[in-house]
Amino acid sequence: MVGPSRAVQPMSAPLLEVDNLRIGFAQGTPVDGVSLRIGAGEYVALVGETGSGKTLTALAIMGLLPGSARVSGTITLDGRPLPVTDDAAMSRLRGNRIAMIFQDPLLALNPVRGVANQIREAIRIHAPTLSRARVTRRVAELLSLVDIEPTVQNLRAYPHEYSGGMRQRAMIAMAIAHDPALLIADEPTTALDMTVQAHILEVLRRVRERTGTAILLVTHDLGIVSAEATRTVVMRAGRVRESADTAAIFSAPSDTYTSALIAASARFAWGGQHPQNTATDNADAAIPDAVNPAGTLLSVRDLHVRYPRTRGSGGAPVHAVRGVSFALNRGQTLALVGESGSGKTSTARAILHLTAPGSGTITIEGRDVASLSRRERARLRPDVQMVFQDASGALDPRMSVDQLIAEALPRGSDRWTRTRHVGTLLSRVELSTSLLTKSAHELSGGQRQRVQLARALAASPRLLVLDEPLSALDVGVRGEVLDLLISLQQATGVGYLLIAHDLATVREIADRTAVMYRGEIVESGPTSAVLGRPQHPYTRTLIGAIPRSPSLPADLSTAGDSEPVLRDCGGPGPSESVPRASPRTPPEGTDTVTETVAYLDAAAGGGRFLNRLLRRPRFWVGGGALLAILVWLYLAPLLWPVDPLARDALSLGVGPSTDHWLGTNDIGQDMYARVVAGLRISLLIGLIAGPGATLIAAVLGALAGYAGGLTDRLVSGLIRLLLVLPGLLLLALISPLFRGASWFTMTLYLAGFGWMVMAQVVRGQTRSLREREFVLAARFLGIPTWRIIARHILPNIASLLIIDATVGVSAAILAEAGLSFFGLGIQAPDLSLGSLLATGAPAATTRPWLFIYPAATLVVTVLAVSIVGDAVRDTVDTASASRHDGA
């Protein structure tokens, strides 16, 4: 391995020097001996794929790692070691000498404070004596520097009123408030559109020129690196692979990994070379109107999509797609290109019947989708499949690869045929069958994307909608998946509708390209023409926004034999046997610290829900107590065979004694026997009513949430009506119906009126799950509704239901007691803890044993149940935090 020895010496004395930095967590060492130096005013890029440790390195420089991190090595700034252990000293440097901006400015800005207010704060922290007027002037100055006009409106605005690009520029303004010597930018443009990215990069460049700050740009995008940075540090698996001048690295990389990375990214670089797409040659014949109708797979004519007005849109209905027409031939690829808000996703949703088109016609294989009956449409469903951008969200986290693909196969075949089928599909997407039993979060990003493809192909679709299929992948994997897409199309003749913002991907695969802008297609035609000789100014802007380096040689695909090096870092398919560089390298899509830590947690902990639950001491405390109570209830009559109703005329109302352990009541009944009998009834009520209410909530909530329409309105109406009155008041009002009730009617009432809140929760969860990508995928496959609810919805809210059921047990026991105390529930002489407490309450100060013992029994029982419930809840919380369900 080539180490940092080849590092080019910075011209001046280094501003920042990181020496042998190690960052360890309990579960692994994601940064393992990193050394790098940054000279004053230098523009250094820190490049690496996901999980390479680049963000952690940046946070270590800021001293902002989570408390659980173990850090060793030294970091020197201006020749003095950073006081990493002294938070007070560090905070005097942060925002002053070193500053940082983050990936998602919407999350990084405080949502409830004005943008200008937050910039003011940044100024005042290190200059508390500055006068108000001078702070105001400085805010205006900073905003102007980042191209935000300091108008009253912009100064008063909150972050949500800014656009994404403005937010990131405001972040930059905040970071440079004190002209820092070093500005760390962590993936500052990843969450933003291409043209916005160009603007941010320009602002960064300008800031560096004006203030002389050094910039450490953390990124995965080699295109940006080659265009912006003077020096580049390449990281992988927690180590620096190569560090040199950017031009040197790109022209003659010395490290095998670096050269493989550069070769892979060259395919997606925009060097101005002629598109290599062979398919484009015959694409001129595919002008929509001149198309041979027999060859047309998809035709969209004058499509309009409108969304009803929402509060967010300021009251006006959104006209997302305005009269779009295009056609796609069988076996070809059409790319819809545009930035967020251009209407390309709305168009795709209309084609997938997810959004009812406002007007216009969509025909697939010559059939007008809108004119089809429900059943015909259901039959047509598998014809159109979708591959989502975020593969981890598109695969049900609770299913194995085998289940995911088998589910998509046409039903009716036997088990053996299915197994063979799944095997065929896996080999078609170049995945090994050893992955069959894995679940989605155990796969790498590339593997997940392949599983998604296999599932889509299982339905033998004619049209595949590809929604940004590559943009969530690391650059090394990108090319492989792209090749797979091309070969699959050649093999199966499936047509692709590609939705993308990355023009390099489009150039590689699309026969035709349509550029969308503000809901309209502004330019369309053969890809080579649209991208090679753009006519519309917007297309030119898009192409102009692609970062490119003047020094970059036109053709870089000479790195040749380095392919396998890339493959082993999350390598799919054929390279499965190659050991991964680090078994602890998180898969793609886990770049933030919390996610990395959570991933390491999950990887180290392994195991499923039950395993994690069993490792919780609290579960054993609560569960043990509950078990002890149950055993006691079972054994009590054997050990102390006293009838709770029998009267001992010789001891009326006496305190605890050897004859009567817990004393007797006024008519000489043994309190111990009564408490045991009462607890038995109360626990029975709780154990049935709690889960019973949960069951009702699950069925009604899932039904209403999934079905929508009339069912939803009826169920929601009933819920709202019942919730109009506070819970206990409703129970109390109904109580005359079960006055002097048996435990059984009491149970029925508690379950029958205890489900509403949970049903609302289940309904809400179902509604959001219904729009989740893995459920959408199941819907596209034409899987029947009940099956989707049973296999994809309920299992994913099972943990919530378990929590509710345990909470319900406690709630039912408490409600029973409360009602008895109000004189409305089970009353003496019938036994329950509630009736015992209600009888004992008036005597509580004079004969406390009548009250204290039933009360203590109740509290201990409910406490035991609650502790079990809390352990379950905690397990669920960490489980959902460590699972990569996507947004």
């Binding site: 800021m62 905070s91 005097r92 942060r94 925002g95 002053n96 500053a99 940082m100 983050f102 999350l107 990084a108 800005l109 405080n110 949502p111 409830v112 404070r113 922290i125 409106q153 909150y158 949500h160 972040m171 905040m174 408030a177 509060r311 967010g312 300021g314 919390t594 009506l721 109009v724 009155l725 506070p726 819970g727 206990l728 008041l729 409703l730 109390a732 009002l733 109904i734 109580s735 005359p736 119906l737 408490l814 007691a817 409360g818 105390f821 109000f822 004189g823 409305l824 407490l837 309450a841 509580a844 100060t845 009360a855 109740l858 509290v859 409910v862 406490l863 609650s866 502790i867 809390d870």
Partner: protein, 328 residues
């Protein structure tokens, strides 16, 4: 902002009407207000009973909805909640008790909110430390104990304390007013009687508020803007205080109103245990007697209290979160 509040107020007002009507209809459907007359000896004839009930608008021969309309008309045109089974004026009964109940409820829920939010924030910042664990365990114990049991246990403890001290140090019967009807004596006496009941309400309120606030605060602590604030140079405590707490209180502003229903049920139990002559206790005894007008009247009172609380929490929500104020 104003549009948002007006819309919320409209919905809440509608809910009051709906809740009261629902209570009237349900109570009429399941209760037997004539039962008390049937127990008389000599028993009254069914016709005579119906006649007695007709006097107060509870004639079982009339359809429920038309009785509801008559009762509602009385409220709208005369501001009169009708008469109860014993002929008492329900409006007077409820207004006479309103002050007692509100005194407990307002002071109790405000203190509970303050204590709960404080404990929640503190617990989140000191997550998994001993103090956090202790607060967590205590709130679980409170959750597991019915309100009336807490009240009675405190009463037992107060009795023990009083007998040790040899004087009536803590009051636990009635709401006070015996020591004099004017001036400081009255105020002091009232406060003395408030201590224990308020303590119970604060305990049950703070137990749940602190848990909700703790988890809201934990969410905020891992928020990226806290990291941004530290990247600007704020110390951890400063960042949490200036940027975290306000955001973490936003979900509480809704939860406070939502959970007031539970506190009202709790305060009914407290009124019974400490022999306070409040609306909750009145409502419970009315349910026991099947007094439909009194039940609906009591429900109306509770609904209005909830309406006011919900509206206040909407205002708070709007003030705390600029995102709901609507775009300019």
């Amino acid at each position: 902002m104003l549009g948002f509040l007006a819309r919320r107020l409209g919905i809440n007002a509608l809910l009051v009407v709906l809740a009261t009507s629902l209570a009237y209809v349900v109570a009429s459907g399941v209760m037997d207000p004539g039962a008390r007359y049937r127990l008389l000896s000599p028993p009254l004839s069914p016709a005579a009973i119906a006649g007695k009930l007709a006097e107060i608008g509870a004639d079982p021969r009339e359809p429920v909805l038309s009785r509801l309309v008559v009762w509602a008309r009385g409220i709208i045109f005369e501001g009169n909640l009708g008469r109860g089974l014993t002929g008492q004026n329900i409006t007077q009964e409820i207004f006479g008790r309103a002050g007692t109940s509100l005194r407990l409820l307002v002071i109790g829920s405000l203190l509970a909110a303050i204590v709960g939010i404080g404990l929640g924030v503190w617990g989140a910042v000191r997550q998994y430390r001993l103090s956090d664990q202790v607060v967590g365990v205590l709130s679980f114990v409170v959750f597991a104990t019915p309100t009336f049991v807490i009240a009675i246990l405190l009463m037992i403890a107060a009795t023990a304390l009083n007998s040790v001290l040899g004087s009536q140090f803590l009051e636990f019967t009635g709401e006070g007013g015996e020591a004099g009807q004017t001036g400081l004596a009255l105020v002091g006496d009232r406060i003395g009687h408030l201590v224990l009941p308020t303590l119970v309400l604060v305990l049950i309120g703070a137990a749940s508020y602190s848990r909700v606030q703790r988890s809201a605060m934990l969410d905020v602590l891992s928020a990226e803007y806290i990291r941004t604030a530290r990247a600007k140079g704020l110390r951890r405590g400063q960042a949490i205080w200036r940027h975290g707490v306000r955001v973490a209180i936003i979900p509480m502003s809704t939860f406070l109103a939502y959970s007031l229903g539970t506190l009202i049920a709790g305060s009914a139990a407290i009124e019974i245990v400490f022999s306070w002559n409040g609306v909750g206790r009145y409502l419970v005894s009315s349910i026991g007697q099947g007094d439909i007008n009194a039940i609906a009247g009591g429900t109306a009172f509770i609904s209005v209290v909830l309406l006011v609380a919900a509206s206040l929490s909407d205002v708070l929500f709007g003030l705390l979160d600029p995102r709901v104020r609507g775009t300019r």
